[in-house]
């Protein structure tokens, strides 16, 4: 653990501090983190996954971005509860023909941002298909957030917020609407999903650490019993 992050322990709980996006070259060097989470971006082609990622990790937006081929990666660290959480984000190709290694995309992923385009209803309809893919390939405990992107296109809206919100609630997903173009909610969406994952992981880590301790405790009983044992024997005879 980085000594630096230890010193932040004084911060109040639940406080989230997003580090400023680092230029990519420096990003590879920030190896000091407490948790490393793999998050995948999935959803139909053209819903804006790559731009969400570039907005979040580099604060960049490209109106003329091309289809993602294969997979792209980026990382960024945020602070949650004085812990540094590094997100390793896999931006996958939405188009079937640009996907190479589907099951490996999901391997080890603890979070998924399932993105659709609020101005294109078919991308919302395909959400169920993507959920099925997650069920088929990802860990069953994966945290999923439904993201309605392009919220800036108000006049073209094809998917009502309430409907999507209800759908998310019915399927146990978190929900948020974002715009990579005007940056609204982009930070928040990643923050939320990473925080949620962190909560789950830190709780489970606690549980499992208890598990490890318990058997050792069991042994102590045996040890403490035996001197007693011997004393008894000595008195008797």
């Amino acid at each position: 653990m980085a000594p630096e992050s230890r010193s932040r322990k004084s911060r109040s709980c639940h406080q989230i501090h997003i580090l400023d996006p680092l230029p990519p070259s420096e990003m590879s060097r920030d190896d000091e983190y407490d948790y490393l989470f793999k998050v995948v971006l999935i959803g139909d082609s053209g819903v804006g996954k790559t731009n969400l990622l570039s907005r979040f990790t580099r604060n960049e937006f490209n109106l003329e971005s091309k289809s993602t081929i294969g997979v792209e990666f980026a990382t960024r660290s945020i602070q949650v509860d004085s812990k540094t959480i590094k997100a390793q984000i896999w931006d996958t190709a939405g188009q079937e023909r640009y996907r190479a290694i589907t099951s490996a995309y999901y391997r080890g992923a603890v979070g998924a941002l399932l993105v659709y385009d609020i101005a294109k209803h078919s991308t919302y309809e395909n959400v169920t298909r993507w959920l099925k893919e997650l069920r088929d390939h990802a860990d069953s405990n994966i945290v999923i957030m439904l993201v309605g992107n392009k919220s800036d296109l108000r006049h073209l809206r094809a998917v009502p917020t309430d409907e999507a919100k209800q759908f998310a609630a019915d399927n146990g997903l978190s929900f948020i609407e974002t715009s990579a173009l005007d940056s609204s909610n982009v930070e928040l969406s990643f923050q939320r999903i990473l925080t949620e994952i962190y909560r789950i992981v830190s709780n489970k880590a606690l549980e499992s650490s208890n598990d490890v301790i318990r058997p050792t405790g069991g042994e102590t009983i045996v040890v403490s019993q035996s001197p007693d044992d011997q004393n008894k024997g000595g008195k008797c005879c």
Partner: protein, 743 residues
């Protein structure tokens, strides 16, 4: 049966009537047989054996038997499914038409018959009536009209009836037989399907038969053994009771017999083994009790198990005591005979044997184990077990036959083993390539030779640029390396490196019995100084580079190796072919073996051609993921730009080669982020890498798991049982080799 002629109706002769009767009988017989047939078909019962098998399978604890039953059950269920399908088919395609046939064709016959008989009677009556009239009777006319009327009706009914009979007879031929045909097809399909399903089982069944034969034999052997053992035990018990008045009344159970007769079990040399029942002192708050438990020495541990262990009771769980840290002494401070103590750092275990001899034997055995353990230089861990301060919480797990982890380097696929066998059977490969010692177990993978262990050591000392040594039995082999071994071999390689010796029919200077110094000298001469390689003339030396290049192009490794021995430049850029190197050519020709050979001889991975394309550029451009990964892990630089300023990734992106793009990006990202040794996490990189590879290469099954969440050092100890569920990935380890072998 011939059809009835309608003309007969007009004649209405008794012969014709008889024929009708015959027809009627045939139809009614047919009717009843149809009905019984339908009944029979309906009552076909499903075999419940399939279900039965499945239930039995669940209650089986023997994995082989359970597996077999499950498998058979599954297949039978499959067959039953087909049968059900057939039954539905038969119902819709056979039974229903049959019913219909009976209803529509056969039933009306009866009605028509009644009608016919009625009108026949009526006609007869009216005829009789008419005939009986007196000549002058006025009603004659009326009766005649009546008769004519009846006759006409009779004729109609008659014809109708006969036509119906004919129809039935005819339809019997086509309608009914058609149905039958359908039925036959159905059952043929079913039996065919059933056969197909069960045919798949056949190899398995054959295997199983073998297994059963084996276990039957084993059982009979064991039976004989245990019977003789039983006899011996009984005999010893009787003898013992005569000799030793000391003995306590032994319970007739097998266990006690074994424990008291331990002296007749032949003592194993080396590791001490002793097992049997002893009484262990338990002290409660008020009074102490002696509990009979089973003790056995396993390595340097004493394993304690309780007979009829009750579930959930901690004290009944098997425990183990490390004897290295214990001392053993005969005790006399208990109010019982034959007692001794094992004093471990945490507690004193008081034990009682059943007689003096047994007690002494136990004490001696335990002391011996203790001595052996103390004298062994092993760390406090015997056979992969770690004991902290006495006993482990779940010691039981440690001796339930868990095998020590299989060493990472093991050939695991049959096919590769098969290939290696072929390598061994190549001419000359039964002897060491250098000193001719028999059955060499080591290999030089770049020279393609098999070596004895001593010569392999010398080869190692020459450096990997001369010879890359690998164990045939212990190391992991990529199939490409095996291919190289198959293309070369001791004879072919020695043709090059011992050419002079061979040509001059000289005695090979090295024998298996030669001294280390002699071997050292010869091997250095042979491979470093290349003293025995045939001299080449000036002209040949000029051409050797071109010849080498051409040999690689022809996948002729033998010639290529000869050229290398003659001093060919492995990185020769052929001016006749766009300044491409041999590696370029091998990559472009997708020659896996040649690529591997060149890489083993340390060709320059990053050498560009006239257009500045490296081999990696070409591999990416061809979307050849296998080469992309091979070149990357041999430190091929992914960021070299060609003359147009394109990197391999750029080319792959331009060409929309999804796989190559993914591989290049994955590799770059993995290298960037997993470079620190602290990060042990894997996020699907390895799996991603492996999913590209050809199935031929995937030969390591590992259950290594990785955590989805990287808990940094602070929480690292927990990472094994960490949060998000872990998934074990097959081939995981291999992928890591793929990624990291070059390190």
């Amino acid at each position: 049966m011939p059809a009835l002629d309608l003309k007969g109706c007009v004649e209405d002769s008794p012969v014709f009537r008889r024929r009708i009767a015959a027809h009627e009988e045939s139809i009614s017989n047919f009717d009843s047989s149809l009905k019984s047939l339908a009944k029979l078909v309906r009552s076909q019962v499903d075999l419940s054996a399939a279900v039965e098998f499945a239930t039995i399978a669940q209650s089986q604890d023997d994995p082989i038997v359970g597996h077999a039953l499950e498998k058979f059950g599954k297949s039978l269920t499959e067959v039953e499914k087909c049968r059900n399908l057939m039954n539905t088919h038969i119902t819709t395609m056979f039974l229903e038409p049959l019913d219909q046939f009976i209803r529509n064709e056969l039933s009306p016959v009866k009605e028509l018959k009644k009608k016919f008989e009625k009108s026949s009677d009526e006609t007869d009556t009216s005829l009789a009536k008419l005939m009986s009239k007196k000549p002058k009777d006025l009603t004659i006319l009326e009766a005649a009209r009546d008769l004519a009327e009846n006759r006409r009706r009779f004729q109609t009914d008659y014809m109708e009836y006969v036509m119906k009979l004919n129809e039935v007879e005819a339809k019997k031929k086509f309608d009914f037989v058609e149905n039958i045909l359908g039925y036959m097809y159905n059952s043929s399909v079913f039996h065919h399907q059933g056969y197909e399903i069960l045919k798949d089982l056949e190899p398995y069944m054959r295997d199983l038969t073998g297994l059963l034969q084996d276990s039957r034999q084993r059982y009979s052997e064991e039976l004989v053994e245990s019977q003789s053992f039983q006899l011996q035990c009984v005999k010893t018990l009787i003898e013992n009771s005569h000799i030793s008045p000391d003995i306590r009344p032994a319970s007739p159970s097998m266990g006690s017999a074994r424990s008291s007769s331990s002296d007749m079990i032949p003592k194993a040399q080396g590791p001490v083994s002793k097992a049997g029942y002893l009484f262990e002192r338990k002290s409660g708050r008020m009074l102490q009790s002696w509990v009979r438990r089973y003790f056995s020495i396993d390595g340097e541990d004493l394993i304690v198990t309780t007979r009829n262990a009750k579930l959930g009771r901690d004290e009944d769980q098997p425990t183990s005591i490390n004897l290295r840290v214990c001392s053993i002494r005969i005790a006399d401070n208990y109010d019982r005979r034959f007692t001794f103590e094992i004093i471990s750092p945490s507690r004193v275990i008081a034990l009682q044997a059943e007689n003096e001899a047994d007690m002494l034997d136990w004490v001696n055995s335990l002391k011996m184990v203790n001595q052996l353990a103390l004298n062994s230089d092993k760390v406090l861990a015997s056979s992969f077990r770690i004991f902290g301060g006495g006993k482990k919480p779940h010691a039981a797990e440690n001796h339930t036959g868990k095998k020590p982890p299989v060493p990472f380097t093991e050939i695991s696929t049959e096919s590769d083993k098969e290939l290696i066998k072929r390598v061994r059977s190549l001419p000359g490969n039964n002897f060491c390539a250098d000193c001719s010692a028999a059955d060499p177990d080591w290999a030089s993978i770049n020279l393609g030779t098999l070596l004895c262990i001593e010569c392999s050591g010398i080869h190692r000392s020459l450096g990997v640029h001369v010879s890359k040594v690998r164990s045939v039995t212990l190391d992991k082999w990529e199939s490409e390396s095996i291919e190289i071994m198959l293309l070369l071999g001791n004879v072919k390689t020695n043709e090059i490196f011992e050419a002079k010796i061979n040509n001059e029919k000289q005695q090979k200077p090295l024998q298996p019995s030669s001294t280390r110094a002699e071997k050292d000298q010869f091997i250095t001469d042979k491979y470093v100084r290349r003293k025995y390689v045939l001299d080449s003339d000036e002209a040949e030396r000029e051409n050797v580079n071109k010849e080498f290049w051409a040999a690689i192009k022809d996948s002729n490794l033998h010639t290529a190796l000869r050229c290398l021995a003659l001093g060919a430049d492995i990185n020769y850029r052929n001016p006749d072919d766009n300044l491409r190197t041999a590696l370029h050519i091998a990559v472009l020709q997708e020659d896996v073996v040649a690529v591997e050979f060149l890489l083993q001889w340390f060709c320059d991975v990053d050498q560009g051609d006239a257009d500045g394309w490296t081999s990696l550029h070409h591999a990416a451009s061809e979307n050849n993921v296998r080469f992309v990964l091979t070149l990357l892990r041999r430190h091929g630089k992914p960021d070299v730009q060609n003359n147009e300023g394109k990197t391999p990734l750029g080319i792959a992106v331009d060409k929309q080669h999804v796989q190559a793009v993914t591989a290049l990006r994955l590799f770059a990202f993995d290298k960037q982020h997993n470079s620190s040794p602290a990060s042990s996490s894997d996020f699907g990189f390895r799996e991603a890498m492996s999913s590209f590879k050809s199935p031929r290469l995937e030969h390591r099954n590992s259950t290594a798991s990785h955590s989805a969440v990287d808990l940094r050092p602070g929480a690292a100890s927990n990472s094994d049982s960490s949060a998000v569920e872990k998934t074990s990935i097959l081939n995981d380890d291999q992928n890591s080799t793929l990624l990291r072998t070059s390190d």
